[in-house]
Amino acid sequence: MNGETPISIRNLSVHYGDLRVLKDVNLDIPARKITVVIGPSGCGKTTLLKSLNRMLDTAEGARVQGQVVLDGENIYDPRTEVTRIRRKMGLLSQKPQVLPMSIYENVAYGPRIHGLRAKAELDGRVEHYLRVAGLWEEVKDRLRDPASMLSVGQQQRLCLARGLAVEPEIILGDEPTSALDPQSSQNVERRLTELKRDYTVVVVTHILRQARRIADHLAFLYLGELVEHGPAAEVFAAPKDPRTKAYLTGEIS
């Protein structure tokens, strides 16, 4: 593996009650690349993603074993402050979930929580990240309108801006285009591709064509098991495991 690995997943297993959703996953996520996790529905993709920013904490009945090492620190260490971990990651969920406040306040929400109060600086940050998310031109004249008035595609880009505004190192996307129309999906994909210059991106998807379009690094998850991972071009061209091959050719889905 060349370069840094900001996230190392070590022997990670997750249980919901008696059900084992992730089995002994080991994965290094390369810096400033898009790592795409593919696999059929119910294979544990979302659980894997949620384990990275400890959002499993809020899921009732989830038990986590193993380590997720972020910048040299195991995030499941009891001494780790969870809000600080989450601050390092921006999350895009399947369905964009705007907060019950204005467009402006949605983006300012994170920075405010983390102590930014100065109005001018907040204004600057809101504008900057709305531009990065490709939404500024569409909303600059109605920043005080409720965020729920935006279209779903715009809401997803607002969520992106909101996540970026806390200045994370990593962007997590949980099937971030599944609720969007083709054009909005394309827009979000383009943003992610641009963002990998500055951020480490991890995207979970069940859309193979999307993985082909954006992945630098590919991981295939099947029934809770990490079957295969490696540079996307290699895995797509010559999958080593027969299950990966079967998935890529559409035999299992």
Partner: protein, 291 residues
């Protein structure tokens, strides 16, 4: 074959007609009852309604039909209900947040707390009155505005908490997760996301509790007492509109009985005004709610 299908269709149509009529009749009865209540109160109160009714306290001989008004009860009721509602809110909101944020929504604590609140909701208000009276005596207090406020707050608490709790339970998990994923603490998420998202429901809960509090007679009978004066402090007894209605209706004089209806009209009007104000406010707090 065709004949049987026709017969079945005919039966289904008759059933449909029957239930539609039933629904319409029920709606009409409810609406008519409301109009009848309002109409009766207004019609009966017309002879007694005057400005002095609203601006004066009872003078000597008021309960015999002489001059004076019910300002004591209007002010007393407003003081009491506003105080009790504010106090109940200070406890209800944290309790609802505790159930929805700090304890899992489906946790044992939450389930049992809800059950106890529902039982409290069903407790008749005279029982609250009797309980308040016992506590008052134990503490050596007299019937006073304060004792009334405490008792009515207790009466309002389960209503308000459960109303707020029910709307908070409807807030999707994804929404609070979105806040958490930005690094917000539970408290920040509760205050800035959960409360804002459920603001219209919180308002409804507060109004519901206020309406119940201002209209209740039994809980204040022994605790707030009754007086012809406007309470000057929390330690003074306070008159209330429901008790004013009760005492005035109980007299043998038609003039005084008419005043009871006028008092009822005033009470209804206060609740109506508060509801309208609530609706106006609701429009404002609904603006940002995420659907």
């Amino acid at each position: 074959m065709n004949g049987r299908a026709d017969a079945r269709l005919g039966r289904r149509k008759r059933t449909e007609l029957f239930f539609r009529t039933l629904a319409a009749v029920s709606a009409a009865i409810v609406l008519l009852s409301l109009l009848l209540i309002l109409g009766t109160i207004l019609w009966k109160s017309v002879p007694a309604l005057s400005l002095s009714m609203l601006t004066q306290t009872p003078r000597g001989g008021f309960y015999l039909g002489k001059e004076g008004g019910i300002l004591n009860a209007i002010v007393g009721s407003l003081d009491l209900a506003l105080g009790a509602t504010a106090l109940a809110f200070l406890l209800s909101l944290p309790l609802a947040l505790y159930l929805n944020v700090y304890k899992g929504r489906a946790s044992k604590t939450a389930v049992w707390t809800r059950f106890f609140l529902d039982v409290l909701w069903g407790v008749p208000s005279i029982v609250y009155g009797a309980f308040g009276f016992v506590v008052m005596l134990a503490l050596g207090l007299r019937a006073s505005l304060l004792a009334g406020i405490l008792t009515v707050a207790l009466l309002e608490l389960p209503i308000m908490t459960r109303a707020i709790d029910e709307v908070m339970r409807l807030v999707p998990r994804e929404l609070t997760d979105a806040s958490a994923s930005l690094g917000a603490t539970r408290f920040e998420t509760a205050l800035k996301v959960l409360v804002r998202q459920s603001a219209p429901g919180i308002l409804t809960g507060v109004l519901l509790a206020f309406g119940r509090g201002i209209g209740d007679a039994a809980s204040v009978l022994f605790t707030a007492g009754f007086t012809d004066r406007i309470p000057g402090s929390l330690a003074d007894p306070a008159a209330t509109l429901p008790l004013a209605i009760f005492f005035q209706l109980g007299t043998p004089f038609p003039e005084v009985q008419q005043r009871a209806y006028a008092s009822a009209a005033v009470l209804t009007l206060i609740i109506l005004l508060i509801s309208l104000a609530g609706r106006a406010m609701s429009r404002k707090v609904t603006r940002h709610v995420v659907k």
